[in-house]
Amino acid sequence: MTERERPLRVSLVQQAPRLGDLRYNLEATESRLAEESRAGQDLVVFPELSLCGYFLKDLVPEMAIRLDGPELQQLGRAAGRAQAMVGAVIESRDHLFFNAAVIVGGEGVLHVHRKVYLPTYGMFDEQRYLATGSAVQAVDLRFAGAGTWRVGALVCEDLWHPSAPYILSRRGTDLIVCPSASPGRGVAASEPELGTASLWSSMLKTYSALFTTFVAYCNRVGFEDGHYFWGGSSVHGPEGQALAGPAADQPGVTRTSLDRRLLRRARIAYPLLRDERTDILNSALGEVGQR
């Protein structure tokens, strides 16, 4: 057991990347990552597409990097003993472009999640420019002193489909990390806060409680072409408790420590994971088929 291991130190870095300026963002990410690593943080999370900006349109191919390219190696070196989750356009060997969250450490690339749900409605146009990921996987990450954590990444819109965190839950995930570039909207007087922020906050709280897992959300800040990114990075514990954040809408870092004993406690108190009836789900999905 890992009971005596110290908590996992997580940093959520709210940045406003320069849209379409890979070199600048890479340097900014590198220095922030090195700083967090020096501060003894284990996992340093950056927002969706943090290396290039979000509303890229035709800039997608120009911003693309390769998993075996020098950029990620450079970040791996900057990570030191820490591991980083960065957002980038990843170009595959056969030249498809994915919106991806990449986990990188001193040993190189440890995990890649290619965004599965590419929003293409309203202000969003991702499927015009990007290829769709086809898997939701978790990875075991080893942190010196903090043990092994099973981590799954879901990028922004992925989390709006409950099947995605559900799959991670079935895979035994301890920590779901969601890098995001969520443009804010909804300023009605009837809401106490930004409409988008309020929806996200209920969703993050609900998922963490229903899946009895840690959920870390890292959203960007700044503006792109009039779109306002509202920040609000946060961490919820496995009983839905707010552990950190929500951060304000300014650049900054939210640091928090995750005590994995909370997972055990939550799963004793609420054995939802144990009681889940995947047999019913399987047969129901078999019946309804694809809609």
Binding site: F55, K57, L59, A188, A189
Partner: protein
């Protein structure tokens, strides 16, 4: 509470950040804004001063000799309340010189000419002072097409373009703009005694509720009739929205190549910032 009621403090915070972010990241020194004496431009000016400080905001009043004197006084009172900068550029000489050559009593032509002279003055100052031209068109005007193309509709940034006119009043009241601006009836002030709502044939209060349902909620028109909106007003609003679509778009380009600007050459405006 109306569905059009906004959380004004939240809107203020977002719009101030918007102005600050979009101005500073492109390296501009501030904004220049035409201040007419009306509520929209006063609000845009006010937000800009809150965002950037009075030294980085230049208000420009650009009266024509027939403009209401009250408008200039109101522009001064807004700048005064903020200890902000206001300069006056009388556009009468260039407008009169033009119409001496091409005389007309057509109010639309005269009004459009004045609006474009003002634009021309603002863009000259923009170049001279390295300031961006701040727009003041609200969502109601933009949707209804109640503005002059390449006149007041020409600007670099617009903090107010997603707020209906009724929401403009809510925000202005919350920010503490001078009360006489809040009680004035909206006027483009293109000629003496002009009132927006007389030109349009309906009130902003009516139009905003209709636009909100058509544009934001995407209700089909029969549902608006069921809600009791007069069909002739709904139709008039819809027709204005459709007919003025051209004002909200860049000029059409005849497509010849495989990559055509605005069609399939698509880059964000904040490219590199």
């Amino acid at each position: 509470m109306s569905e059009l009621d906004i959380n004004p403090e939240l809107v203020r915070r977002i719009l101030k950040s918007f102005i600050r972010d979009e101005v500073l990241k492109v390296g501009a020194l501030g904004v220049v804004v035409g201040v007419s004496g009306g509520i929209d431009s006063a609000l845009a000016y006010w937000l800009a001063v809150e965002a950037l400080g009075p030294q980085a905001v230049l208000g420009v009043a650009m009266p024509y000799r027939q403009s209401s004197g009250e408008s200039l006084e109101d522009a001064r009172s807004v700048a005064g309340a903020l200890s902000g900068q206001l300069t006056v550029a009388d556009i009468s000489p260039q407008v009169d010189a033009y119409f001496e050559q091409f005389p007309t009593e057509n109010r639309t032509r005269r009004g459009n000419k004045m609006a474009r002279e003002r634009m021309s003055v603002l863009y000259d100052i923009s170049q001279d002072r390295s300031m961006l031209v701040l727009g003041t068109s609200n969502k109601s005007e933009l949707l209804l097409g109640y503005g002059t193309l390449y006149g007041d509709m020409a600007h670099a940034l617009n903090p107010l373009g997603d707020l209906y006119k009724t929401q403009i009043y809510q925000l202005a009241e919350h920010l503490g703009l001078p009360p006489n601006l809040l009680s004035k009836r909206p006027s483009a002030d293109l000629f003496a005694g002009q009132l927006d709502e007389e030109d349009l044939g309906f009130t902003y209060a009516q139009a905003d509720l209709i636009l909100f349902r058509l544009v934001d909620q995407r209700l089909p028109t029969p549902e608006l009739y069921e809600l009791g909106f007069p069909p002739q007003v709904v139709q008039a609003v819809l027709e204005r929205v459709r007919r003025n679509q051209f004002k909200r778009r860049q000029p059409l380009i005849a497509k010849l190549s495989s990559r055509t600007i605005e069609i399939d050459f698509r880059y964000p405006r904040d490219w590199g910032y």
